[in-house]
Point group: C2
Chain length 218, copies 2
């Protein structure tokens, strides 16, 4: 593997992984870079370039072995390491995330949930009892979770992030629209900006509208 | 504007837009492609190339006018058109989305909410009464909403998508992990794959871990 892989390539790997998983489910064992690129909305040369960053699994004129590539990407992404995670904020968003995501398949083992609402503390969600956020320092010192999922109100996020950084958290999944600022710039923060995909949708609807209007004129 | 702008560029525009909005809030009026690229995690030449697709707002040796660029991107994205939207599925995820997103700033006006749960129908959320999903056909024929936000259980998504396509919906924001298959392939479907960003986080935590282990060895 090359020393430095660009962030753009890394960001595409989950999509490759997800798509290869679909292929496996459909019983497809081989795929060309051309076919893969069509599904990914990119070019065949982009696909070859991306996968070459990690050592090139393809064989000229044969294509990619789907299962092998799937496993390799899982390994590159570190999905087999099972980092431990805590989630803070078991409100509407937290609950929605807990309901929807299979963390284990995405590289993480969820070990605790925290909230500050007395009505939520003590509830059981996904087999875990919601703990009082006031106990989070002790929890982290004892259990040393790797990452934190931040699904709390945006105004609470900056303070909580700093607190968790001091407690040794080494990765954040942030749903707040605010900016998570840490002392150590090397600690990864993945921000989920739902509004971005909404704006992309707006653009695409707008393009379709323009096209239809032009067709009507003719 | 060039005829065909690549999807990759389009996908970066919301990030430019969001970042330029932050700059405006901070009172910054000018930015170089170099500075912009650093914030975007890309290269200065990439930034220049991206923005050139739409006519090139920058001036050599001066940089970009933040406010002008911000407004232009809003216009390119169609955020000023205010397409009408309906949301189907006012469960945990639907509520979380309704709580978190300012649709108006992202190009959409939300005009109705639907659910099939008698306990949810009639509730008021964000100033809108939740309607019975059985009335959705009539609603669409009368009000002709432009797009639909699908926050219903994944198994309900394919059927609902087809139904809404027949009712004239011309864009989908889909939170289901399933695939939205429409008759008309031109209708845009924006899928939110939360698991993708979680896998990216996993990769980055893994990279940091490896780096720290190597440092400890020395």
């Amino acid at each position: 593997m090359k020393e430095k892989v660009s962030l753009a390539v890394i960001n595409r790997l989950p999509r490759y992984y997800r798509y290869l998983g679909d292929l496996l489910d459909a019983g497809i064992t081989k795929i060309s870079s051309q076919e893969l690129s069509e599904k990914m909305g990119t070019t065949a040369s982009q696909v070859r370039q991306d996968l070459n960053c990690f050592g090139g699994f393809g064989q000229q004129g044969y294509g990619y072995n789907v299962e092998l590539l799937y496993k390799e990407i899982a390994s590159i992404l570190g999905l087999d390491r099972k980092y431990t995670a805590i989630l803070i904020g078991v409100g509407k968003l937290g609950n929605a995330i807990l309901n929807r995501i299979t963390f284990e398949k995405r590289g993480f083992k969820l070990i605790a949930l925290f909230d500050n609402n007395p009505e939520i503390i003590g509830q059981e969600v996904r087999g875990l009892k919601v703990l009082d956020v006031n106990t989070i320092d002790d929890f982290c010192r004892i259990h040393k979770p790797d990452v934190a999922f931040l699904t709390l109100p945006r105004e609470a996020v900056p303070g909580m992030a700093i607190r968790l950084e001091k407690l040794g958290i080494k990765g954040f999944w942030n749903f707040s629209s605010g900016y998570v600022k840490l002392e150590n710039k090397e600690i990864p923060v993945e921000n989920v900006h739902l509004g971005d995909s909404l704006m992309t949708l707006c653009y695409r609807v707008n393009e379709l509208e323009k096209k239809l209007q032009n067709q009507n004129k003719i």
